[in-house]
Chain length 205, copies 3
């Protein structure tokens, strides 16, 4: 079959390499196309897939809702998640050091009076019978050796939970940085959305 | 070692191709198996990975909670996210044009009276001292050049935020389409779940 | 060009294989490196990408909020999602069989009195005019053939929704297992976080 050939070694190598290239190109073309397609898909997934992170909007200022928010946040941080808490409106209560009335316009004084006194003095959302609810709640928790709200806030700071005061809410409600805890961050809705969009758990409390 | 061979060119090519196939098959088999396995995993991930999207249930009807919901929604839409808002129960307040009492059964009239008057007249959840809270809130926001709630709702519509009125809630509360803003969508829990399951951020406000 | 060679078949095969190895190694090295990099990325994504699952914290105990929570949960389960509900604080109301006062300390009796009577007797968060709201709500829902709250709770159990009572809340509020529905689970914040971190939809109601 066919004429027998006489071939030099370099010709043989060239021939073999050429044949290999054809084969390998044909076979790898599919693999490389699949690979490229997967890389594209994985790139999009990487942009949209959450990180091991939880982000909470803390809107309510009652002791029970704050307590629930901090329980979830501290729990998540203890389990190794990165946690961000954004305090807006009544939630700013949790970050207050104490009452500050000096140098405020009348309207802002009114809001300051309506805002409770920092985490020691927040009302519960239900049990607030003649102001007794929060004390009672504290008593029950102490009896059962559960951390108090101020302790949980301190714990949150120790655990590196990112606590952000909403500057727009501060503006609307006339709350200044001097009234809030040290070592907190300040930001707006864009800061919140940046963290929330990377989070497995997003809550509005 | 061994007998020298005499070979035709076509025999040489056939021999080389056969050897190449063996080698390449062996080597590519692993790669192709890995590739197939990754494609399977990536397929599952693609079904479950969120899109750049935020979905809110708006259940509360107070001015401050509505304001928080619209701030987040408008912020997300401004940052390029697709945003859906599902208005249920008291949240339907945000979508009301104005009071409509005509042609209702007594029970529905009662609900209509309990539902505030559309976004201009919603109570705040806390500061509502003798009805003064919402006005005061508007005054504070105007003083600080922050968008009012009706402006934010208009902005949400302009930004293409999908606003869906919950038809079951409308049924329970006796609210008709004629009472709600034009250019909104209508749907149920399945509509909500479809959007929420694709979202990075899911909130109940 | 070059000297013609005389070669044995085994020498030819060895030569060809060697050439193929060089070529294939060079070409596959890239593919395998890309594959390995993708496998790493996909592994991380798999850990962080949600499953087809929804997880709700049920904190509020009013009929309307409970109704909204169960509507979403039952809807999601009906669409094939795995659903977990974590009942904390006032949300425990939904799981109560009936009032149980016997053998409690005074403080706990107070909480028991403040907690409504199980899902038949929960207040609505708004329409509660002289206690009439919840009855009225039930009347409206019956008129429109919508499932009542106790029916929805039964449906949730039938659909295999995981209902977890928060043991810390039970402790704080003096609620015992005997007071709650059979066939529910018990857990804490770690149980919740484990499920929530795998969920597409996370809500705080």
């Amino acid at each position: 079959m066919g004429d027998n050939i006489t071939i030099s070694q370099s010709e043989l190598i060239a021939l073999v390499n050429q044949l290999v290239d054809q084969k390998v190109n044909a076979r790898l073309a599919d693999v490389e196309a699949s690979l490229k397609s997967i890389q594209g898909t994985v790139g999009t997934l990487s942009e949209n897939c959450p990180e091991d992170r939880a982000t909470l909007v803390v809107f309510s200022g009652e002791m029970d809702t704050l307590f629930a928010a901090f329980t979830i946040a501290v729990g998540a941080a203890s389990m190794g998640m990165e946690v961000s808490m954004f305090f807006t409106f009544w939630g700013l209560t949790a970050l207050r050091k104490d009452k500050t009335f000096s140098g405020k316009a009348v309207g802002e004084k009114m809001v300051a009076m309506m805002l409770p006194n920092g985490p020691h003095a927040v009302p519960t959302s239900r049990m607030n019978m003649a102001g007794m609810g929060p004390l009672f709640f504290k008593y029950l928790m102490a009896q059962r050796n559960i951390e108090s709200l101020p302790n949980m806030i301190a714990l949150a700071q120790e655990l590196g939970i990112k606590m952000v005061a909403c500057e727009m809410s501060m503006g609307v409600m006339g709350v200044t940085r001097a009234e809030l805890l040290d070592d907190i961050d300040y930001g707006g809705v864009a800061t919140y959305l940046g963290d929330a969009a990377k989070s497995k758990i997003t809550l509005f409390v």
